[in-house]
């Protein structure tokens, strides 16, 4: 026989969750009716976009390459800066004050979305790839800087002592005791960040960093939906290709022992 008492601890939280969700949906107007209406319109719109305008394909290759280059440069500069920030933010290498300030800066950077950084940078540098590269580089510091700093703090302290015990200075401790130990993590997280940066470079392109994201935004703006479809195909291929490349590289490095 059903006993309310028995299921009380599950039913009450469920009712509360459903009520809160329903309330939130009503407040922001996200109802099921609207969802189905939107889906229907979306499918109809997608029908209008088909077929893609293949004549625009060749002129979009350069912007696509530009997006990849922005992501690549943003990742390389970002990773290099992240290593410096991570070394300064690690409690086992850095002075407590330097660590506190660096951790604060990393946290501050993480709390600002890349798109906000880009809007600020566009005001400073103007439209183009440059603000995109800087925004993605800064974006890396928030994520890679924190992850690497935490990993450095986990390094066996005796590994550091071992370099210090032969008279090695701080720089030598970093180059011989710390970096060799965290290189697998640097490679792995940098590749992961590159995948994220490829997606972000498209998004940032639409806001003013150029590249294929700009082409997509421009095509929609000019109501050239077939052209926009071509841009979407290129973007999907780009993101998928990058993920495959990153997966292949990781596998290869693992096989050669670099990521052991």
């Amino acid at each position: 026989m059903f006993s309310f008492k028995r299921y009380r601890k599950f039913i009450l939280p469920l009712i509360i969750l459903l009520t809160v969700t329903e309330g939130a949906a009503v407040i922001c107007g996200a109802t099921f009716g609207k969802l189905f209406e939107g889906l229907y319109r979306g499918i109809a719109f997608f029908g209008n976009m088909y077929p893609p305008d293949w004549s625009a394909f060749s002129e979009m290759l350069e912007p696509a390459l530009q997006s990849i280059v922005i992501a690549f440069l943003g990742t390389v500069f970002g990773a290099l800066m992240s290593i410096v920030f991570a070394l300064l933010a690690a409690s086992n290498l850095s002075h407590p004050w330097v660590r506190a300030v660096t951790r604060f800066l990393i946290g501050l950077e993480r709390s600002i979305p890349e798109i906000v950084i880009l809007i600020l940078l566009v005001a400073a540098f103007g439209l183009g790839a440059m603000p995109g590269v800087v925004a993605l580089s800064l974006g890396c510091i928030g994520m890679l800087g924190k992850l690497l700093a935490d990993i450095i703090e986990e390094i066996d302290p005796l590994m550091i002592e071992s370099i210090e015990s032969v008279g090695g200075n701080k720089l030598q401790v970093i180059v011989f005791g710390v970096l060799p130990q965290i290189i697998p993590n640097i490679i792995s997280y940098t590749l992961f960040r590159f995948e994220i940066n490829i997606r972000l470079s498209v998004l940032l392109g639409a806001v003013g960093a150029g590249g294929v994201g700009y082409e997509l935004d421009y095509s929609f703006g000019m109501l050239q939906y077939h052209r926009a479809f071509t841009a979407m195909i290129i973007i999907i291929a780009m993101v998928f290709g990058t993920e495959q490349f990153s997966y292949y590289l990781r596998k290869k490095l693992k096989m050669e022992g670099a990521l052991k």
Binding site: D156, L158, M159, E161, S162, I163, E164, S165, V166, G167, G168, N169, L171, Q172, V175, F176, G177, P180, Q181, I183, P184, G257, K260
Partner: protein, 263 residues
């Protein structure tokens, strides 16, 4: 020569970890420090190269020009300079696992070469050759290019000894160098360390009275932060009981077991 005077270290709760440790060690001596767990052996050793600052006392070491330095009182820069000539073989072979055996040996001279050059792994051919010779002395030259993390425990400890040889120190410290090794590897390592004491004082912390009796020239026993014995390495059962107390039975069992395995 090394002179340790009245080392003390006390915890905030008043427990004395080191309580007036004093001894002298000269070239040609291979001193084994014995004691039960927590007696203060490793703490004493860590004070000898400045990895730990005692509350009071001094550790006087002389450089190549016979100038005395008190490790407990010198500044960081001088400490780095003095450490260039103190070789350390750590418990658990604290080598950098992702560097090759040869690179780990070369780390021994980091303090003695130009910092800028060292940052780019810019060791000279002569230095590489010397490092290889050091590896050859411990019969590890064939594995010079292997990643250290892939070596066995005994091999890693031999690399650590090669590093100390390459460093050409004036004092060698060994913190439980054979603790993690099987009896046959432990013997090999002791045989490799012993001849080094002809050129410099060697001080090691050990848990194996049998080994110290066989290879050391002198034994210092520490109990509750104080030296309770300093003399001949061959210790009587009564003395061992005094040093280890209840732990002795466990050590004897271990040694019998290891001897049986070795046979």
């Amino acid at each position: 020569m090394l002179e340790v005077k009245n080392l003390t270290k006390t915890l905030p709760n008043g427990r004395k970890l080191l309580d007036g440790i004093s001894f002298k060690v000269k070239k040609g001596e291979f001193v084994g420090i014995l004691g039960s767990s927590g007696a203060g052996k490793t703490l004493t050793l860590r004070c000898l190269n400045g990895l730990l600052k005692p509350d009071s006392g001094s550790v006087i070491i002389r450089d190549e020009l016979d100038r005395p330095f008190d490790i407990c009182k010198i500044n960081k820069r001088e400490l780095r300079r003095v450490r260039q000539k103190i070789g350390v073989i750590f418990q658990g072979y604290h080598l950098v696992k992702r560097l090759s055996a040869l690179e780990n040996v070369m780390i021994g001279k980091l303090g003695q070469i130009n910092t800028f050059r060292s940052l780019f792994y810019g060791f000279t051919d002569a230095e590489a050759e010397q490092a290889l010779k050091a590896l050859d002395k411990v019969k590890m030259s064939q594995l010079a290019g292997s990643m250290t993390g892939n070596l066995s425990g005994g091999e890693m400890q031999r690399v650590a000894i090669a590093r100390a040889i390459f460093q050409s120190p004036t004092l060698l410290l060994a913190d439980e160098p054979i603790s993690n090794l099987d009896p046959s590897n432990a013997k090999t390592i002791m045989k490799m360390i012993k001849p080094l004491s002809e050129h410099m004082p060697v001080i090691g912390v050990f848990h194996q009275p049998e080994m110290t009796a066989k290879y050391c020239t002198r034994v210092i026993a520490i109990k509750e932060g104080q030296i309770i014995y300093d003399g001949d390495p061959k210790l009587s059962n009564k003395r061992l009981e005094e040093i280890y107390g209840e732990e002795l039975e466990l050590i004897e069992q271990q040694e019998h077991l290891l001897a049986a395995i070795a046979k």
